[in-house]
Symmetry: D5
Subunit: 165 residues, 10 copies
């Protein structure tokens, strides 16, 4: 049996906490045998954003809907109802603290370095926060000279100072 | 009263959950009127790493101890005992979920995009995790053309595939 | 594909914790293509109150039932049984602490300013509470001179002093 | 014994979770026999903001420090170190869910109406959140024609749409 | 549409945590258009006890079963199997802390006055507890001279002193 | 050693979560060898209310302060600052769920009968709550014909219907 | 309607957390109208052990399976697959802390006397534990001279000293 | 160094959650070099009861106070104030779920066999509970024929049927 | 009825939190009457790894899929989709803290010896962690000279030192 | 400043939850500049066991006390009272789930592989558990041919089958 490229799939044990169309999207993606990178390229969006749409954590524009419907061979009207004309109900994709090791590591970074980030950001920017809404993020693969792979995650959020009132 | 540059300080309401030397370090830093950027430059390390040392979340090399002692006018032997010859007991700087708004936003990013990151990273790298140990991170300030400030956080961790056994 | 105005929808992943008629109501509203503002106008009630009825968090008068049935083309008897002749079982619409970013911000306001509100209200009114039952609330949109949009939420509750006994 | 106007005070059972200067501020305020309304007038700020400074949940400008020091007869340098040149570590004033009845009622409003707010705000503004950072709030007393007192709380936050990326 | 007297109903979002016959009972009661007061009168029991039977929190005697079956037009054998010949599995009707405002207020009374009750009861009775098993309770409506309605709840439990051993 | 009447005392393991004057009050009461019933009689208030003042869960009027100071031989000015001119920070006397058996039984009553109370109260009063603020409570001792002691607790709260808005 | 002896039944609201055959067993037992005492006698085992098998908390020997199948008129092969050839997944029968009053009392005994047991057992046996695996338990009914019933529960576990290593 | 019999001691890491006299009692007991069995014999009470007094979980009679004071060489008046004339605030000796292995095993028994006990007790006694107040308990050591030690714990509580009301 | 060797089975009360194919795999394994040791031998992998695949906690190579399909008589394509071409969503097999006694004991070891392991590993290896990803584990049975069985579990993980940055 | 070998130390932020002598032991060890391996060799015990004694999680024999007192230059009588003649109160060294990354990885292993261990152990040994009391553990360092370090942890516990009763 020859190896087939692995695709992210929807473990049906988490499907319950997500909108029901999530499963349809993952099934269609698997059928089309496309990665999130493939989809991101067609949509002109970032991979993480596209995956977030699939998990019901981000919304899609009419153009996104059109392209996704075409690419994944889905009915555009139905798809628009599912991801285009709705306001996502965010924050439910997984339990917190995360139990999945990959996601836990991100949580651990917040746990270990949270106050260090706050101290450095406060000194650099003042009293405020980095927005998680006016925000984008990106994952990149780096292979160093020894052939070792490194994951690079970039977070970019607007600086919001606390209003004086 | 003229405005003095603000420095990250240790809220004594969180001091209890940290090693007792943490307060000494923050006091010395305030007295020396130095930012973490100032200290990072002298140590040749990243600001977040230096702040992590201050919060008891990272260890310091003998050279780090020497420079910090000199810069902050602290007794080198005592400082070595506090941050140089110990193994940090990490993960205690703050409560999880974070209640501090700045830190909460980072947590929210994990909550909202955790599975999206997993999906994208799995497709790009395979079955494994991004290490939070063989790991570095960095905060950068960006000001866009409209004069709007953006926070950029970079996370870089070694890719660790699950061992087959 | 032309953009269609987006309507609040019921993420079916939260439908489980709500009475089963909630889904019917949201489906009928979407079909009728009406906003909560549209419905509020017809009912002579506030938008938030109408949305609360939809989420099973408020009750409807016979007149409300009549108008809603007509507007949404629903069977009046059935609708009366669902929202008119029942006592809502409140407090279940979402998890607490909220994971949805929009709702979390409201929670964060209580977290950050709770004691400040208490101090100010105690000094202004005495020893008691603002009722959340003899209570109304309203959301308004404001656009400032720079074209920036602001959300205004008003809470109005009866003052209840602690009884001396 | 003649009745003396009651002032908000710091219950020492919550002092532990706050910075140590909080107690000093409340003591000075009581000694000066001033309400938050009195202080707010002198500072030209809102009462809730002033109370938030007292609870360590907001920062003070140099001018705020100067006026407060004068009004409360505190050493300006020390006060600047306590509330002027620091970045508040927010979110710790009380437990969540709140156990204090006055604060619990605010929490209950979020619990009961959270999704109703989300639905109405989404339909009025789109996909995003009301900022709790670019934010102000205000408490007002209303006495209706029957002599009944009502608490009015206003929340005003900048609208932040989710960035497309 | 004329107003119909409202009856307590079973929100199907809580039905899951209760025995399946609970729904049948509530449906039959609604169909018969009877209040708990009506049923209590026929059974010669207290309203709260009858409601507790409906929620699966109390058991019914053979005579109770007979009368209820007759009154609600239910099959006596089936009803006996459901509520007459079983031992209730108590404590599941709702989440704790309660999220329903009416029930939360009862919880808040325990939270605020728990130790005051203990102090007063200990001084009046000694070292022991008020039984919640050898126990009855009652709800009464009072309308004062100003036409204001008051809820009166009476709790009566056997005094159980701690055994000396 | 002759038996001395037992008085409610403050277990110092819970003193930490209460204002510091609580201990002073309990010590003075013990020294004066008075029960809450004794104090209630002198104050013309209910025993539970007096105990609640002692636990920092209720406020005292100037007259209450005067009488208590006299009865317990405490400095009136200091006592006024402690319980007379403050706004209690309620809800902290004990952990929830309660671990103390006497208090747990009250909690269990809410747990077991909460929905039964709601159903009965809704049918008797409509859609609303029993106030825990416009509220009084009372503990009475009953000895039945068999010499068995029973605890009677009465809760009386104002009926608050949900406002239509 | 004559009273029929009550049998322990399976509240279907807890059936979800148990293996699906649990319901079949309880139904068969009710149909056969047998108590756990009846079954225990036929199996030569203790009642608690038999009830534990029914709740999926203990395993059955081939002989147990044979007798139970015969007594309850169940298919032996199917029964063997359900309770005879499996390793029970213990600990799920109910929530902890228990909400059922009968079970809560047992929990409360551990809560109140846990350290007292530890102190007494340590002094009697040394440093170790009473096994809950090499363990048996028994419930007995006692009626004292006044006709009062008492429940006697016996726990017997092997003493396991901590290994020195 | 010759081995000295080990006595239960008070780990000062749990002393914080207990009344302050607990430490005094344990110190006096160690000084007197007496086991709980020794004390129980002198008091004519059960060992577990005596240990419970030491942990602040049970009260002492005047006679208990007199004998303990004499035996442990403590001031009787002070001891009466500590354990004789107070009402214990029970339930705080340790965290739940227990982390101590010996106590956890007892908790695990409730977790695993809780419903089995309920089923058996219900069938034997009816609808009610075993009291944990009108209750006694005892620990016995058994050594079987193979020299293996077994811990026997006996629980004996009054049967309390649910009152019909 | 002759005793049949017992096989690990999937308690359907935990099946809900696992991917749906888990049940299919366990059913096939039972039908084939094979232990994990049998399967491990055919796959040339460790038993724990094989069991982890069955619980959806580890991934399978194309060769693993081929052999398993053959051995268990499953459709290879379907099996590849289930366990071969997916990225497992780990960490969901059971609740934490574990309620199953066997698994709880492992948790207890971490609870009791966690800091001891950290201290010893830090001194032996420096500042870092043992990877749970670049990791293997093994269970072995040992029978000592007295015929007593011992479980040996071996954990082997790559040492990862914290990166200096 | 020359590098000094690092020793495990006691972060004083965790000292609060441990017996007070823990700090004394760690200080003495640091002063003596000895590793746990050094101490283990002198005591003829395992390093993890020695570290467990230091964290108050294991007891020491008279001989252990004698050698430790000598080696660490501590008063033998005092040391015997601290670690020799007491019964450890286990399970408190750290929070669960662990926040320390090194300890979390062990927890994660239980989380991910817990059911796999159970399945394999059940099939190999039957229905029972691996004892965590009749138990020993060991940490070993391995360096592979590529110079990569691996941590090996061995757990060895007595097999305890569930008693039939």
């Amino acid at each position: 049996m020859s190896e087939q490229p692995k695709l992210a799939s929807l473990d049906d044990s988490i499907a319950d906490r997500l909108p029901s169309h999530v499963k349809e999207l993952f099934d269609a993606k698997r059928y089309a045998n496309l990665t999130f990178a493939d989809l991101a390229e067609r949509l002109g969006r970032d991979e993480v954003a596209v995956a977030a749409i699939f998990y019901g954590q981000a919304s899609a524009s009419p153009e996104d809907v059109r392209i996704l419907a075409e690419t994944l061979n889905l009915a555009p009207g139905r798809l628009r109802d599912q991801i285009g004309s709705v306001f996502p109900d965010r924050g439910r994709a997984g339990p917190m603290p995360p139990v999945e090791p990959l996601i836990y590591r991100l949580y651990e970074i917040v746990q270990n370095y949270g106050y260090a980030y706050k101290a450095v950001i406060n000194e650099k920017f003042g009293d405020g926060i980095m927005s998680a809404i006016a925000f984008s993020t990106k994952v990149e693969k780096e292979v160093d000279n020894d052939g070792v792979a490194w994951v690079n995650i970039k977070l970019r959020g607007k600086w919001l100072p606390f209003t004086r009132f």
